[in-house]
């Protein structure tokens, strides 16, 4: 599948998606409420992007952006980056852990590091930080006066 074909296929399902081809791989931008249906489309036939190899979040100060790197084990040439903006004041997004089980742990990491709340996550608890830790360490506004390196 070429990028153009992918774009037409996705637009057919999700007209709201916008595209960015500046990077190495095709990037799909989407609003957070449309993420889950689109993810399900990508996961299913004929795209079969069954391998979520990176899930992370970026803090742009004004908003958070969830980033999903997807590829297919049957066709390793297809790589797609899925991005969804999340409101920073009230970060809620639907979980994708039922589509890709690996997201279960990765979302837990994002949950404690960025404070993003994943709806319908089976087990959304802290994985790395201790229970009484305050703040979200990977957000840009996080300051730890004692332990942080400042150059």
């Amino acid at each position: 599948m070429t990028n153009e074909e992918i774009k037409t296929y996705i637009t057919a399902h999700t007209p709201e998606a916008t595209y960015d081809e500046a990077g190495e791989w095709l990037t799909i931008l989407i609003e957070s409420n449309h993420l889950k249906p689109l993810a399900a489309v990508l996961r299913g036939q004929p795209m079969q992007l069954d391998f979520l190899f990176c899930l992370t979040c970026i803090d742009y100060k004004t908003h958070l952006t969830m980033v999903y790197h997807l590829t297919s084990t049957s066709n390793r040439n297809i790589n797609i980056v899925l991005k969804a903006n999340v409101n920073i004041g009230d970060p809620i997004i639907e979980t994708v852990s039922d589509l890709w089980r690996t997201a279960e742990f990765l979302e837990r990491e994002v949950f404690e590091m960025f404070g993003v709340d994943f709806l319908h996550h089976p087990d959304l608890r802290r994985l790395i930080l201790e229970e009484d830790f305050k703040g979200f360490p990977l957000r840009k506004d996080f300051e730890d006066p004692i332990n942080m390196i400042k150059l």
Binding site: F53, H69, R101, L127, L138
Partner: protein
């Protein structure tokens, strides 16, 4: 502490079947580091495993946001310390890709050789440690005999034995040691002679086979769904070798096979790693006599600046796919950096494949997942 009545009261928070909740780790001989598993047991049978991470979390990702592109590479050696060369290579490759730096052929070949040596060293350590988890102490020393030769080569070349920091954007920090080629050849010779020894000691051992065959079976679908990579996924029949999918450095010009087993149990994970070491030797043999002359580092600016945008680089470490994802705002430091560590995904599968097995099986399963805790925690 407890009085007798308290102990009786305490039994109320047990499960209906009188399950036993046992903490394995952070100070446990088999977790190889500070991994904390909360294991729910029914007799000897495991009901649930819950990993608690973070005992060695240094927030490398946050740290890198305030380090320049030249500096942050050295931090990455501390992630998966057994593949520190490969971690460094990933970062260097990403910066080279982002800035279109030409890397001299010599550097590419040397990087490839060092990466493969690192892979062998890592697998050697793993064989020893895993055999120790299963109660056999001796293979550890046999594996370390060869690993020691590699660390000696590393020491000559990089000045360090564990956290090498030898690879810089554009090539290598220094030229290789004059004895590099002879030493590597001597290692290859010895390895080929001695590798049969621990195959005799471990692979053919009846007890070892009965402990690992059919234990911790990971199906192909689960391996894909859980995002497993490296030997763990390849033992389940998933083709995921980044060296084949997206070749970097000199991997596109060497011949080697991607080792794939289909059983998905602990024994096939073991076999994948053993065979992979032989493939690494094959790669080294092809390259060691053909190290091109020339510069060891390309022309780079003193201050590196990545253009605004996003960059992703994947490499194959000894544990699987390491991804480095950088979001750049055009400054001298990355805006956001994310390391997709292979161990994190491989750990997430532990509960799934060890559930229902015995405590002894947990050691075999955990051992063959080859978890390096700093890599998981970052």
């Amino acid at each position: 502490m407890y009085t007798e009545t308290e102990i009786i009261k305490d039994t109320t928070n047990l499960g209906p079947d009188g399950e036993l909740v046992v903490n394995m780790g952070p100070q446990h001989p088999a977790t190889h580091g500070v991994l904390h598993l909360v294991v729910t047991l029914n007799g000897e049978t495991i009901k649930k495993i819950e990993p608690h991470l973070g005992y060695i979390h240094r927030s490398i990702e946050k740290m890198c946001e305030s380090l320049t592109y030249r500096q942050f590479i050295y931090v990455t050696s501390r992630m998966d310390y057994l593949s520190s060369h490969i971690n460094n290579t990933a970062c260097a490759l990403l910066i080279e890709k982002g800035m279109q730096i030409e890397v001299p052929e010599r550097a590419k070949v040397v990087r490839t050789i060092l990466n493969e040596l690192t892979r062998i060293a890592s697998h050697e350590l793993w064989i020893g440690a895993m055999a120790m988890d299963l109660g056999a102490f001796t293979p550890f020393f046999y594996a370390f005999r060869e690993r020691e030769m590699i660390t000696d080569i590393m020491e000559d070349t990089c000045g360090a034995r564990l956290t090498m920091n030898y690879i810089v954007p554009g090539g290598l920090m220094y030229d290789i040691h004059p004895d590099f080629q002879t030493k590597v050849k001597a290692f290859v010779k010895q390895f080929k002679e001695k590798v049969t020894e621990y195959e005799d000691l471990v692979t053919g051992n009846v007890i070892f086979q009965s402990r690992t065959k059919g234990v911790g079976v990971l199906t192909t679908e689960d391996a894909i769904s859980y995002g497993c990579t490296g030997p763990v996924a390849r033992a389940s029949g998933v083709s995921c070798d980044i060296r084949k999918i997206a070749p970097y450095d000199a991997y596109d010009r060497v011949e080697f096979d991607e080792v794939i087993e289909t059983a998905g149990d602990s024994f096939s994970r073991y076999m994948v790693r053993v065979k992979e070491m032989n493939q690494s030797i094959r790669i080294i043999e092809q390259l060691i006599d053909n190290i091109p002359e020339g510069d060891f580092v390309g022309k780079t600016k003193n201050v590196l600046k990545l253009a605004k945008g996003e960059f992703y680089q994947r490499v194959e470490t000894a544990r699987g796919e390491l991804g480095v994802y950088i979001v750049s705002e055009g400054a001298t430091t990355p805006y956001r950096i994310k390391f997709r560590s292979p161990g994190f995904s491989n750990l997430s599968v532990l509960d799934h494949i060890a559930k229902g097995s015995k405590i002894g099986d947990l050691m075999a399963t955990m051992g063959t997942l080859d978890l390096v805790i700093p890599d998981i925690d970052r």
